[in-house]
């Protein structure tokens, strides 16, 4: 290699190392809140301690904060409610979006464009904006302070409809036509032929749906009252409120991890699927 080429290569290498160092430093700074949370949840955190923000772990990490949080909060109930809500929403969504997605993907009918736009508009009219009138609607339906009340507004998902539409469009019609010729009823055809073929799209949607509803806060807060109906986000906030007033950061950190833990863990383990599903649902 010529001397000039060597310098250029070395400068390139230096630049790359510098970039790497910068990126790593940035990533470290980015992760400090989470690192702190992990550390604080297992460390002794006396009130008024000056080093509450330290990232250095104690010699003997303890799970005391977690057990305190578990006994003081009502995490079992909150987990149950959150699971019911997210899985319940998902179950109904899968039915509604599959049916509607098929209609858009395969059928031509009058008014298709208008209906299409009705769905499209819903994408931007996100639920939080409509909280006040939606609460009234839930009350009118007699669903106030109930888990179905929390789930109902999400049973239809324009997002999911478009996703299924896109997914179905990529499946050749031959499969359906063969099934019909074999004597399958329409619903059987959907269930036994299309759904298995559309599985990647449905899984992608499932991940996005569960994540977003697991993390929902304002809506469940508004439509539920009883402690027995709280979901994790609402439970966490009420629990943390009194702990925060007391500046009991170890407890706060542990409680937050109990809420965010499952999703974080799922994400760490199934990164590829999460990432793909976010992208899959987005780009399409």
């Amino acid at each position: 290699m010529s001397p000039r080429g060597l310098t250029r290569a070395l400068r390139g290498r230096g630049a790359r190392l510098a970039a790497l160092a910068l990126l790593s430093g940035f990533a470290l700074a980015w992760s400090t809140p989470l690192l702190w949370m992990l550390n604080a949840s297992m460390r002794d955190m006396p009130f008024g301690a000056r080093d509450a923000a330290s990232l250095l772990p104690d010699f003997k990490p303890s799970l005391a904060h977690f057990s305190d949080a578990w006994t003081q909060g009502d995490f079992a109930q909150w987990y149950l409610n959150t699971l019911i809500v997210t899985l319940g929403i998902l179950a109904v969504q899968l039915v509604t979006i599959t049916l509607a997605g098929y209609a858009f993907a395969r059928l031509e009918f009058r008014g298709k464009t208008i209906v299409f736009y009705l769905f499209l508009l819903q994408l931007t009219l996100a639920a939080p904006i409509l909280i006040v009138p939606n609460t009234l609607m839930v009350v009118r339906l007699g669903l106030y302070d109930s888990l179905p009340g929390v789930m109902a507004p999400y049973f239809a998902s324009a997002f999911g409809v478009f996703l299924m539409r896109q997914t179905f469009k990529t499946i050749p019609r031959d499969f359906e036509e063969a099934a019909i010729l074999d004597g399958a009823s329409f619903l059987q055809m959907i269930r036994l032929v299309l759904v298995p073929l559309a599985r990647p799209g449905m899984i992608a949607f499932a991940i996005v749906s569960v994540t977003s509803h697991w993390n929902e806060f304002l809506w469940p807060l508004m439509v539920t009252d009883s402690p027995g109906k709280m979901v994790l986000t609402v439970g966490l906030t009420s629990f943390v409120r009194s702990a925060e007033q007391a500046a009991d950061w170890g407890l706060v950190a542990a409680a937050t991890l109990l809420v965010a833990g499952p999703l974080l863990l799922a994400f760490a383990l199934f990164q590829r699927q999460f990432v793909n599903s976010f992208l899959f649902t987005g780009i399409k």
Binding site: F47, G48, A49, R50, A52, Q72, F75, A76, Q77, Y79, L80, N81, T135, V139, Y144, D145, M222, D225, S226, P227, G228, S238, R241, S242, E244, Q245, A246, A247
Partner: protein
């Protein structure tokens, strides 16, 4: 295993609850916890005890956040047609609830028990009557009450050459003490002489205490349409606070959130703080160095608002549930239960008889700091309550927050606060005081 078991139990409860085959009257009880400590848990255990002693009633206690949040939740529940049978509400929200016609008076229930309303109220400290009665009827039964207190670090007092048994009694003494206690290291302040809580609700309460200590009346206790922000007493109090921050530099700039203030007190970075007596137990548990409490220092006179919460009866409940709620009210405000709660929290017990009980006397002997709030009751007046109380309160708080950050002068702050508050009160005023014969 514990996880599985608790989840199974929760699932069982979730499945079984709706059918409710038991004959017990089920009532909901909303309660807030505005101060620090394990109060929510203690309330739940109190309620569990009541349920055990009264098998014909089943109370579900729901912790609904701060005073402001409990207000929102209670109103939402009433609007949704599912009102709780009983709600523990900030003592000064009662007026608004009555104006909005959302609560029932207690008088019929008291009379059915064979007492007169006056005799019933007599059991409570006189300072609490103002917030309990609106338009002559009892709409809120006091459950726990407080006054603001000056908490100070006794050790730091000694270190600075001050006598911990002689806390500052006037604003002049207060500033002097604060100056001696403030420690600086070049540009940085290592210890502040004073910290005041800056978050919504407690900021307004603290400022009203200072305005009252400066001779101000603050609001019209007999008519919910008038608030006195733009007055000399208010201007004086706000200027005093402003000076603490910007002139004497014994208090930090900006809004200090309660957890930060508590942290600073525990960690020795704040020598004196103002907080509710309701935090007394919590601070006593967590303060490692000796501390004491004192009256709020006066400029013109000793005067503080009460704080705390009262039990209200939302409208829309069946007679059965009202009776059950009334039973719970009487139980919660009995000298024995009230006294226990007071000892646990630091709030003082509304029924005077609680202080005649031996356990209370013993407790006060061991913990003389609990006597201070009680002694300050002699100078306590009702908590301000007007139409649209929360918004009117925020009108002042927003201005004070701006002032604390140096964005407005005290004079600008009170003028803006008055203007905003008047705009909020206009609807009520136009329909009442300004509603004249044509």
């Amino acid at each position: 295993m514990k996880l599985v078991r608790s989840m199974a139990a929760a699932a069982a409860i979730a499945i079984l609850s709706p059918s409710g085959a038991v004959a017990a009257t089920r009532i909901d009880f909303f309660f807030p916890v505005p101060v620090d400590g394990a109060l929510a848990k203690e309330m739940q255990s109190l309620v569990a005890r009541f349920n055990k002693e009264n098998p014909d009633i089943e109370v579900t206690a729901a912790y609904t956040g701060t005073y402001d949040e409990t207000d929102i939740k209670t109103r939402a529940a009433i609007k949704a047609g599912k009102p709780p049978a009983l709600s523990l509400m900030s003592a000064n929200f009662i007026t608004q609830y009555h104006i909005d016609d959302l609560v029932e008076p207690f008088d019929p229930l008291v009379e059915a028990d064979g007492k007169t309303p006056d005799a019933f109220m007599d059991q409570f400290w006189p300072a609490l009557h103002g917030n309990a009665r609106v338009d002559g009827k009892i709409y809120g039964v006091p459950f726990h009450n407080s006054t603001p207190l000056l908490y100070y670090n006794a050790e730091q007092f000694k270190e600075a050459g001050l006598d911990p048994d002689k806390p500052p009694a006037t604003w002049a003494e207060w500033v002097e003490a604060a100056r001696k206690l403030t420690k600086r290291d070049g540009d940085k302040t290592l210890r502040y002489g004073i910290m005041l809580p800056g978050t919504y609700d407690i900021l307004g309460w603290t400022v009203s205490a200072l305005i009252m200590s400066n001779g101000g009346q603050y609001y019209n206790p007999e008519y919910g349409g008038e608030i006195y922000y733009d007055t000399p007493s208010s201007l004086g109090a706000l200027t005093f606070v402003d000076d603490l921050v910007h002139k004497f530099k014994v208090m930090p700039e900006g809004t200090i959130q309660t957890p930060a203030m508590n942290n600073a007190f525990f960690g020795g970075q704040a020598a004196m703080i103002i907080s509710s007596t309701g935090s007394l137990s919590f601070i006593r548990q967590n303060m490692k160095t000796p501390f004491k409490v004192a009256f709020i220092p006066r400029n013109i006179r000793n005067a503080v608002p009460i704080g705390g919460a009262s039990l209200i009866l939302p409208k829309g409940n069946s007679e059965e549930r009202r009776q059950a709620a009334w039973k719970l009210v009487k139980w919660l405000t009995s000298p024995e239960i009230s006294g226990g709660w007071s000892r646990f929290t630091g709030y003082f017990a509304p029924p005077k008889a609680a202080y005649d009980l031996p356990e209370m006397k013993e407790f006060l002997d061991k913990n003389p700091d609990a006597k201070v709030a009680l002694a300050q009751l002699a100078y306590a007046r009702p908590w301000f309550a007007t139409y649209n109380t929360v918004a009117v309160r925020k009108a002042l708080e927003d201005e004070v927050q701006a002032m604390l950050s140096g964005k407005k002068t005290p004079a600008e702050a009170i003028k803006a606060a008055q203007a905003n508050a008047d705009a909020l009160l206009k609807g009520y005023v136009d329909a009442t005081a300004l509603s004249l014969p044509k």
